[in-house]
Symmetry: D2
Subunit: 391 residues, 4 copies
C-alpha cells in the first residue's frame, strides 16, 4: 500500500556555482512551489569555488562536495529522507553523460540540462543506462513548460488545426555580435565555451538554440523530422563553430518546414517563435510574449488565447499558477518586495544601520486609504473638486 511522504523532495546540484546563470534559474524554479529543497551540491570542478557557492546558498557545508563522484557515492549512502532524491546537472555539454551515469548508477533520479550528450552515440549510450535504471530522467527543454505551449500541443492533438502541413520555427539571438564591437584582439577569441568544439560539440548556434526550436516543433506537433537540408555559417571571424544555421525540413507526415537559429541577428534577444500551419487553421507563439497563443483560421477572426482563462484546457491549467491578466512576472515583482524585506530584516539581525529600501511601506498604505476616502467623498459631492488630505 502507498505510504504518504510528507516532506519536500531533496535536490542536489552539479555545476551552477557563483556567476552561473542557468544554475540559478534551476534553483529558483525548484524553489518556487515549495515542493523541493536544495540540500547538497558540487557547484564547481574547483573545490574552493564549490564551497563558497554552497555558503552563498546557505547549505550545510558537509553537503557541499569537491567532486561529483564523491557526491554520488556519499549521498547514495545516506538514508532515504536525508539523501538527495534527485540531482540537477547544469555543467557543460561534454560532461553530462559521465555525471548523469554516475548518479543513475548510484540510484539517484536525474534532471539534466540540454543537450543531453556530446554526440549522438553518447546520447544513445546514456539512454540505455537511463532506461535500464528505471529512474526518473528529465531533460530541461524548458520551453515546453510554458502553459500556452502545452495548450497548443493539446489543441493540435485534438485536431483543432487539422493535419499539419508546415512548421516554421525560428530562434534568432544577437549577443555574439558584441565580439565585433570590442577590442580587435577579442574577435575570434573563444570567450564563451559554447564556441569551443571540445566543450560544446559539433555545433554552436544550432546545438545551443536550434535544438530548442527543433524540440519545440516536435513537442507541439508530435511529428518527427524525416530529412533536412542545412547550412551552417560562421560570421564572427576566427571562430571554429557556426554562429548561424538555416534548415529546410521534411517531416515524417509529409509536412515541410523551416528551422533556423542565429547568434548574430543584431538586436534580437531570445526571439524563439513558432508558427504551425494545418489544413484547418494555424497557431503562432512567441517566447518573449509567452502568455498569448494566436490562433488563426481561414476567413475567421483571429483569436488570442491567453494563459489563465477558464476557456483553456487542463493541458494549460494544470501548469498555471496565476489567473489571467497577471503575467508570471507578477510573482517576481512580488518576490522583489520580499527580497528587499529579507535584506532589511537581515540588516537588522546583523546590527547594521537601516538603509533606504525599495518597497512600499505603511506611508503608502495611508496614501491609499486617503485616495479611497477622497474618491468616495468626491463621488457623493456636487462640487467639482475635492481636496486630497495631507498625508
Amino acid at each position: 500500500m502507498a505510504k504518504k511522504v510528507n516532506r519536500k523532495i531533496r535536490m542536489g546540484m552539479v555545476g551552477g556555482g557563483r556567476g552561473a546563470f542557468i544554475g540559478s534559474v534551476h534553483r529558483m524554479a525548484a524553489n518556487l512551489d515549495g515542493q523541493i529543497e536544495l540540500v547538497a551540491g558540487c557547484f564547481s570542478a574547483d573545490p574552493k569555488k564549490s564551497k563558497l557557492s554552497g555558503q552563498d546558498l546557505l547549505l550545510d557545508s558537509s553537503r557541499v562536495y569537491s567532486s561529483y563522484e564523491e557526491m554520488a557515492k556519499t549521498e547514495a549512502a545516506l538514508p532515504e529522507g536525508e539523501r538527495i532524491d534527485f540531482v540537477t546537472i547544469v555543467t557543460r555539454n561534454n560532461t553530462h553523460v559521465a555525471i548523469a551515469s554516475a548518479f543513475l548508477q548510484a540510484g539517484i533520479h536525474v534532471v539534466c540540462e540540454k543537450p543531453l550528450a556530446f554526440t549522438l552515440a553518447e546520447a544513445r549510450q546514456l539512454k540505455r543506462i537511463a532506461d535500464k535504471s528505471g529512474l526518473v530522467f528529465a531533460l530541461t527543454h524548458n520551453y515546453t513548460g510554458y502553459p500556452m505551449v502545452k495548450e497548443a500541443r493539446h489543441l493540435i492533438q485534438k485536431g483543432k488545426i487539422g493535419d499539419i502541413i508546415k512548421v516554421v520555427a525560428e530562434y534568432p539571438q544577437g549577443y555574439a555580435l558584441a565580439d565585433l564591437e570590442g577590442p580587435k584582439e577579442n574577435v575570434g577569441a573563444i570567450n564563451n565555451w559554447r564556441m569551443d568544439p571540445h566543450v560544446s560539440g559539433a555545433s554552436n548556434a544550432m546545438g545551443d538554440i536550434g535544438t530548442h526550436a527543433a524540440q519545440l516543433a516536435y513537442y507541439m506537433t508530435g511529428i518527427k523530422i524525416k530529412e533536412l537540408s542545412a547550412e551552417l555559417s560562421t560570421f564572427i571571424p576566427g571562430r571554429p563553430l557556426d554562429d548561424d544555421g538555416n534548415c529546410l525540413i521534411r517531416f515524417e507526415n509529409g509536412a515541410v518546414g523551416i528551422i533556423y537559429a542565429s547568434q548574430v541577428s543584431s538586436g534580437e534577444e531570445n526571439n524563439l517563435n513558432i508558427r504551425i500551419y494545418g489544413t484547418k487553421g494555424s497557431m503562432e507563439w512567441h517566447q518573449e510574449y509567452p502568455n498569448d497563443l494566436i490562433l488563426k483560421h481561414h476567413e475567421k477572426p483571429r483569436q488570442v488565447l491567453r494563459r489563465g482563462n477558464d476557456y483553456l484546457t487542463n493541458a494549460a491549467k494544470d501548469f498555471t499558477r496565476l489567473p489571467f491578466g497577471h503575467p508570471e512576472a507578477f510573482i517576481e515583482a512580488f518576490a522583489n518586495i520580499y527580497l528587499e524585506v529579507a535584506r532589511a530584516i537581515r540588516d537588522r539581525l546583523e546590527g547594521k544601520k537601516p538603509k533606504a529600501y525599495d518597497f512600499p511601506t505603511v506611508d503608502d498604505g495611508v496614501y491609499g486609504n486617503a485616495f479611497i476616502e477622497t474618491v468616495v467623498k468626491s463621488s457623493g459631492s456636487k462640487q467639482k473638486w475635492t481636496k486630497f488630505p495631507s498625508v
Copy 2:
C-alpha cells in the same frame, strides 16, 4: 560590530489557507530566491482549515496556529533563529490593522497586503504604531516591484522626460460581469467579499484596483494628488459598492490626470497601464506586458526599453533575475518541469505506479543530438537532403 546571519529569514503567514489565491502568490514570491522559508502560520480563522493548510505546506504542526493572537504570542517567545522573523498578512481588508498591530507589538516585522486599513483614520493609527515600533513594515503594492517600473521611476527622477504635466493611469478588469451571465438569483449577490462594505470598506473597484493605479502614478512620478473629481458607479444590479470609478486628477505640481478602475469592462483581464507625459518626453507601461517600457519623444523614433539589457540602470538591474529576452515566465516554465519531476519522484517514494508525466526525457535528448549531427552532416554535404536517423 555586525555579525553574519547565515540562515534563511523565517516567515510566518496569517491568512492564505487552501484556495486563497494571493496567499499562494506570496509564498511563491518568498520561496523564489531561496532567502526566506515559511515556518509558521495561522492560515484561516477556522482552526481546522488552518491545520489542513499547514499540512499542505509541509509545515511542522506545532507551528500551525488557531488564532493570530496565539501565533504572535507563541512565536515572540521563541528564541531568535527559531521564531519567525516576520509575518505576512493576507487576510481581508477589515482585519489588517488588528493583526498587524499584534505582531508589531510582539516585536515581529510585518508584510501586509493592501489596502492597509479599513479607513483612513485606522490607517493613520497603524502608521503611528509602525513608526513607533521601528520595525520593517512592507505593504505589497506589488506593481512597484516590476523592474521596468523601477527603471521608469529612475529615468523620471533623472529628468529624462522633463517636468510631468499629465498622467493617465487605467485599471480595467471585466470579471464581475460573470454575475450577469449566471442564474438570475446570483445577480446582486455578494459572492465576493470585495463587494461587501463591511469587509471591503467604502469602495470596491476603486479601493481594490484603483488604489493600485493611484499608487503606481505616485511611485513612478513621486508627485502626490492635490485634489480630484470622482464618479463611482454600480452597474451590477443590487450591489452596495461601486464596480466602476473614474477620476479627474490635479496633482500637487500642477500636472493633470485621469485615474480609472473598473470590474465591468468586458474581456479585460488586468489591464493596468500608465502613460506619463512630461515636457520633454513620455513613457508608457502595460502590466500585462511588463518587460517593455515605451519611451516617446517629440520627433524622435519611439524606443522600447526591455528588461534585462545592459543599457538599463541599476534601478532595474538590481531587481532582475534573468537576462534579456527571457520573460519571467521562463522561471515558471522551468518550475513546471521541476513540479512534474517532484511528482514523479514522490510517486515512486510512495510506491505508486508511474504515470505519464509531462517533462522532456532522455528520448528528447537523443532526438536533440540526432538533430545536431544531422544538421552538421547536411551542412557539409552537396546533396540537398540528409536523412534523419531513426531515434
Copy 3:
C-alpha cells in the same frame, strides 16, 4: 423616370491652396475612385495665391475665383453638367457658416470641414439653412469613414456587446510641445491659427480633436452625452486657449465615460483610440492601426477582426476597396510608382533629360523571372545549391 447621369460629379473647393494640408487630403480622397473631378475653386482669400494654386491643380483658369461669393454666383449660373455639383469648404473655423450658407443659397451641395461653426448658435443657424435647402450637406468627421469603425457601429447596433455601460475615447497628440523646444520668443506665440480664439473658437485642443473623440463615440454607439465634467488646461505658457482637456461623461442611457484630448502629450502622433464596454462584450479600435477591430468577451479568446474579410458585414464591406491583408497604404504604395512614372513621362514630354527614378523596371522583371526559374530548377534537383543566372 430616373435618367442615367454618365459623367463624373463636379467638385469645387474653397480654401486648400498651396501648402494647405487638409485641402490636399480632400482632393486625393475625391480623386481616388474616379467618380469626382475637381473643376473649380477659390483656393485662398488672396486672389493671386488662388490663381497659382489653380495652376498647380491643372485647372482651367476661368474656373479659379478670387472670392467665394463670386464663385457661388458664377458657378450657379452655369448649366448643369458644367457647373460644380458641390463645393468642399476647407477654410478656417470662423468662416464655415458664411461660405456654406452662400453655396446652399446658390443651390449647390456642400461638403464642409469640421467644426461646423464658430459657436453653437451659429451652428444652429446653419442647420436651419441646410435643412430648408434640402441639399446634401456632409461634414468631414473623417474617422467615421474607416470600414472597421462602421463594422463596430453595426455590431453594436445588433447587440453584439449588449448594453453600453462605459466608453473611453482618447485623442492625445504631442506636436504643440515643439514650441517649448525652439527659441524662447516663440513660446506662447500663436503660430498656428488653432490657438487663436478669434479664428478657432472657444477651445483649441478639445475643439480641434476632442470633438473627433466625442463624435466617434456618438457614431459608434448612437448614444448622446447627457452631462459632463471637464477641465481644460494650458501648458504652453502664453497661449490663450487650452492645449489639453479631460472630461468625465454621463451618457443619456446611463453609461459613463471619459473623453480626453491633448496636444502636449509628448511623442504621441494621432493616437485617437476608443474602447466601448457593454454588458456582453467590448470593442477597442486604434486609429493608427485602423484595420484591426479588437473584440473581447468575458472568458472567451480575444478576437481581432480585420478589414477586408468575408466574415465582416456589409457595413464594412460597402466601404472597402482592398481585400484582407493589404492595408490601404497599398494603394498609396502603388500610387508612388505612378507618381514617379508620371514624372518620368512628363520629363520626356518637356524635353528634359531623364533622371534616376524610383520605380522597378524591366530589369527587376528579368530578376524576377530568373528567381522563378532558379527556384523551379532547384526544387527538382538533388544538388543542394543551384546557381542563380547572371542578370
Copy 4:
C-alpha cells in the same frame, strides 16, 4: 529648351475589366494625386465586356477598344496631348510580353504588372525591346513603393546596420485553403488562373508572391542572389503547381538567407515581412503594418521609426502624402465620405428619392459645437456636472 506641359498625363489600360481586383487598384493609384487621367482602354479580350467596363469607368466609347493591337495602333496615330502617354498592362502573366512589345513598338510608355514574362528567355527578349525603345518601363513591384521600405533602403545604403549578413523574407497567405473546405469536386480544380501552368508559368506560389519577397530583399539591400536551394510543394490535391515554397539563399556578398512563400498558411492574409540583419544592427518591416520600421541594435533600446516624421530622410519623405499618425487609410476614410456624397448627389441628379447615406451631416456639426461649448462651460464651473444642450 524645356516646354511646360500643363495637363494631366494620359493613361490607357489593357486588362482590368469588371471584377478584376488589380486593375481597380491601378486606377485608384493613378487617380490619387490628380496627375494622371484614364482616357482609353481595352479592358477584356471579350469586346463586349471591354465596352461595359469602359462605360463603368465613364470613358468616351470611341476610346474603348476590342483588342490591344487595335488600341496600340489607333492611339499611336492620335496627336500628342490627346493620345495616351502610357499604357498599364494588368493582364495574365502569359500575355505581358506580347502586349508590352506592341505598345513599346508603337512608341507608348509602359507600366506592367509582374511577373514581367512567362519565362526568363521571354523576359530577356522584352528587356532588349524596352532598352532599345528608350521608353519608360515600370514594373509594379508595388511593395517597393512604401515610404518606410524606401527609408530602410536608404539607411542600409548609408551603413546604418553595417554589412548585411542575413535576410529572412516571408510571404505566407492562406486563401488557397478555401478549396479544401468547399464541395469535393472543387478540390484540385484550377479555379484560379494562378494555378494553371499555361497561364501562370512554371510556379504558382513562388512565382506570384515569392517573387515579391525576393524583389523586396533585393530592393532594400541592393544585393543579388548567388545561389539557392529550394523546395516547392503542393498541398491541395490535384493541382499542377506549387502552393508552398521554401528556399535557402546565398547572396552575392556572402550573406545567407531564407525566402519563403505559401498560399496554404491558414489564416494568414498578406503577411509579407522581412528582417535584414547586419553587423551593426537589424531592421524589421511588416507589410500589414507598413508605417512602422523597427530598428534594432545590439544592447540599445529598440526603435520604431514611423512614416511622416521629420526625423526620416527624403527617401521616405518624397513619397509621403500625410503627416505622422495618420495611416494612409485616412485618405480612404475621407474618400468613403466623398463616395457617399457623390452617390447622394448622383441620386438627386437622376431624380431618385434620397436614401439613408452614411456620412456625417450638419446635425453632427451642431452636436460638435454643443460639445465644445459644454466643455468650456464646465471647465469654468465649480459644479461637477454641466448639462449637455438638447441638439
